[in-house]
Amino acid sequence: MMKAEYNFIANIIEKNSTVLDVGCDDGTLMEFLKKNKNVNIRGIEISKEKVQICIAKGLTVIEGNAELDLKQFPKNSFDYVVLGQTLQAFINPEIVIKELLRVGKKAIVTIPNFGNWKVRLDLLFKGTMPITSSLPHEWYNTPNIHMCTIKDFVKFSETMNFKIVKSLALINKNISNISKSNIFLKNLLGELGIFLIEK
């Protein structure tokens, strides 16, 4: 399924580069990048069904788990490694981020923003774990075990010692830059954070 942020991810990626899409799902982003950016793109996906869909689209995908299977790629194998909205689902996001930046010269990470006002209001007024259109699960069946906010991710970059080259917030299908001066607002309004990072 085509997601709102794909256009912005494509804008970040240079033409004719090599890309690894980690958790490539049904290959929609891969196809989109292949077509629009002429990239040499590979995917890794944990679901057998999704891998089959990718194969049927003629995409090169391996069935695997990012936490275990990124280690087979040597350092700087790809110009870009993309991790779309799944960092929060890993048991160990620290290892995954390290691996992304080892395998790729740069990485593009998108995160559903837990600091969004709808999420905050849900918890504040209902007193239950927030359920929104981008976070539709109950607390007991959510794959998102490590939710974070845009602000958290910026802090994470400092602790983990990686650079944020570009940071964007997706608000109502519009994209805007996140800066030091506006981060409070972007963290409140943003539905999604898009980060271009490097070592």
């Binding site: 590979r42 891998v51 089959q52 194969i55 391996i62 790629f73």
Partner: protein, 376 residues
Amino acid sequence: MNIRENIKTLIIEKPLELDCGRTISKFPLAYETYGKLNENKDNAILVFHALTGDQFVTGVNPITKKDGWWSYAVGPKKSIDTDKYFVICANVIGGCMGSFGPSHENPETKKIYGTDFPVITINDMVNAQVNLLDFFNIKKLFSVVGGSMGGMQVLQFVSNFPDKAKTAVPIACTSSHSAQNIAFNELGRQAITADHNWMDGKYNSKRTLPDKGLAVARMAAHITYLSKKGLQEKFGRNLQERDDLKFGFDADFQIESYLRYQGSVFVDRFDANSYLYITRAMDYFDLVKQFDGNLSNAFKKTKTKFFIMSFTSDWLYPTQENKDIVIALNAIGANVGFVEIDSDKGHDSFLLEVPDFLNALKNFLDKSYIESNDES
């Protein structure tokens, strides 16, 4: 068994130096083709058969009168679509369906080779088969495909001839035969050589056949091709045409009867010495060792696009061994896709009707074919 008239044979004039040190020349390579080679000669797929397979991939095998071993996968509109592709398959050397093997006569001694036949390797097999490309005037195959020992040949072929195949599909195989694989093969060989009628491999001239031993070898091997769950679901403890146990050693259980049947039909179509030679070739297969412990080096020179498949219930060539090949390819940035197919049918899954497998194979080939035509 007069099998000659239904068998196409290419005589390989060029001497072939075998891994064992001996050189063979003017030897026969039996093959079969399906579909049509197109004008550009870019639609050819070389299929490699497994241990007990032969060149008769699909349709009715003219010798056994049964369906070809890969009838589910190969044929018009099937995964390997013979309306689209030109499929070539050769009987491996060491085999018994017309290619140079231990049941052939040694021109020097005028006696059947038996165990005087040189020991063959997977490397020798593919070096013999590459001659088919010259014969058909094919510069580059669209694909090389095979499961089990066929998959080993795929790996060896791409390693030996890095620019001779656009795509490669090794299925349910390994880059190096494991101790368990060797153990099962040795069990089969011991069953054959322990048969009194084997006569040190000279049974042809003594007009006997080590049928019992070969049947036991087949029975043991057959178990390794299935999964525990598959066996339990198909046979359980069901009794064979009886209401109760008979307190004897006849086939009380259906599984016993099934295995005995598998053994008995196998001996009608397979040569015991060929079984020894081909299992030996598999045991000797170690592509990792050929490249001094680094499998990646086997594929360093190739731009071939790989697609590897394994099966969840295959314990003979388990997923991890297939994944090791994927890992070696990714380590050098090769183009490789991989999926493990859900199936209860064990190692045999690649020969059976497993829709997820058959669809993936078809999708990979057809999409890659369109892509390769766009490029050229």
